[in-house]
Symmetry: C3
Subunit: 204 residues, 3 copies
Amino acid sequence: MELILNYIGIIGSFALAISGALTAMHKRFDPFGVLIIAFVTAVGGGTVRDIMLTGKTVFWLEQTSYIYFIIAGTFFAVIFRNKLGYIQKPLLFFDAIGLGLYTIAGVQIGISFELSPIICIILGTITGSFGGVIRDIFVNEVPVIFKKEIYATVSIVGGAIYLTLYKLGVSNPLLQIVPILFIIITRLLVIKYKISLPSIYAKE
Amino acid sequence: MELILNYIGIIGSFALAISGALTAMHKRFDPFGVLIIAFVTAVGGGTVRDIMLTGKTVFWLEQTSYIYFIIAGTFFAVIFRNKLGYIQKPLLFFDAIGLGLYTIAGVQIGISFELSPIICIILGTITGSFGGVIRDIFVNEVPVIFKKEIYATVSIVGGAIYLTLYKLGVSNPLLQIVPILFIIITRLLVIKYKISLPSIYAKE
Amino acid sequence: MELILNYIGIIGSFALAISGALTAMHKRFDPFGVLIIAFVTAVGGGTVRDIMLTGKTVFWLEQTSYIYFIIAGTFFAVIFRNKLGYIQKPLLFFDAIGLGLYTIAGVQIGISFELSPIICIILGTITGSFGGVIRDIFVNEVPVIFKKEIYATVSIVGGAIYLTLYKLGVSNPLLQIVPILFIIITRLLVIKYKISLPSIYAKE
């Protein structure tokens, strides 16, 4: 279990580092600025989660492997940034992968701390999306999570799916794969078809 | 005491959730964006306080009732947003209530951790105002707390009043009611009459 | 050792409080807004470091002396703000001193927690530069650390110098003075001669 969490986390950090580095290069930050944005995007959500849990060590302080995967993701983004330009919205693609992997990692940690279901889902959403929120704040933009396309909603529903499967006694790898794929695929469909939540401002 | 703190905290979270939801709707965020801004506004200050205190569990992780009051406050703001438009500056009104209640909750927790008076006052100000600071950062605005109208000052003075009454041996409910009302009423007067601190830029 | 850390920290907080207060006055914040920006600039980096380290008390909660030095730094900046205007970029000067002192304080705390070298360097960079990052976010600007002039890089190299000297068995005061002076002098040279990292956007 701990091993699977690490595996998820490291792939998630690689994907989110790419998402962060692409955002920073779009803003033409200097090389170390790009690395720092990649770093906060990749570890920001999990760090906020860990500092809120009493007695939980911040995950990357004692698992140096994260740092190397973040540096690798940053190099990947810098080297292939022109190639990545050909893919439609590569930033949102890597962001979706990170959202899926990290949301489930967050929910799992909430369960291991025996927190109530609603708090587990909130922890999942924080883990999955707050790295991107910090990224957007650092580059002085309104966080993409609050914009029209459905974002936090997907993370919340994905977390609820995980919890439901968990209570039904579904075991790994299905327990993890279903909600992770749900989040990634839904996010990509939402982006492709520009699906929005029903506006609450319609009549104004 | 613990009970009174909870009572204060829950009303404060309801008021600050309304303040956050109104800000987010003003920016035309999607429904879940509105809920998230309501959430960080309501719990942001107390969360920053709790993660700074070694051994203190972040209050809302184990008291799920907060979540429901925040959701209720968000629904209240969404449903009555047109009605609330008739009240002058409803955002600032609910913000003032939250500032009063949360400042005193923060000072009380500082006292229970046996911190020095000046640190207790700072914890009160952080608890009372950092939710609003995070709200404003999330919507990409300069935090209202730094603008001309007296804000942090009221929280600091209110915290000092609580500490003075506490040292004088005044007991509840007077101990809490006096500084809470002081903060709320002073903030409302400050807004109504546009009172500012003396400018330090006068001669420039 | 603990004593030297305190000494470094207090001078650093004085310098960073001046840097924060100058930024806030440039934005024409009210007096308490200036004090709060000075406060978060001075303690922000060390606070982020301390809340990430399990079992570490946030340094200023139990060392009230920091608060007084921050208030003193704020008064210094307010009183001499016209005089400071004659010095070229006084903000960046005090910022450089804070960066040097705090980076080394952060690396030292990482060593005392027996963290790996790369994590010690990251902790140093966070301690040295995140106060400024929070300052810039609070005044709604893109953090100066990400702009063209070399900033985080200097902190990272300075931290690496400290670790190298430490492993070589160099003792205090040389162990501390060399990397601190390296950071301060390099930052000032970088500012004076507008040295930048090689751009990664050259061909675009």
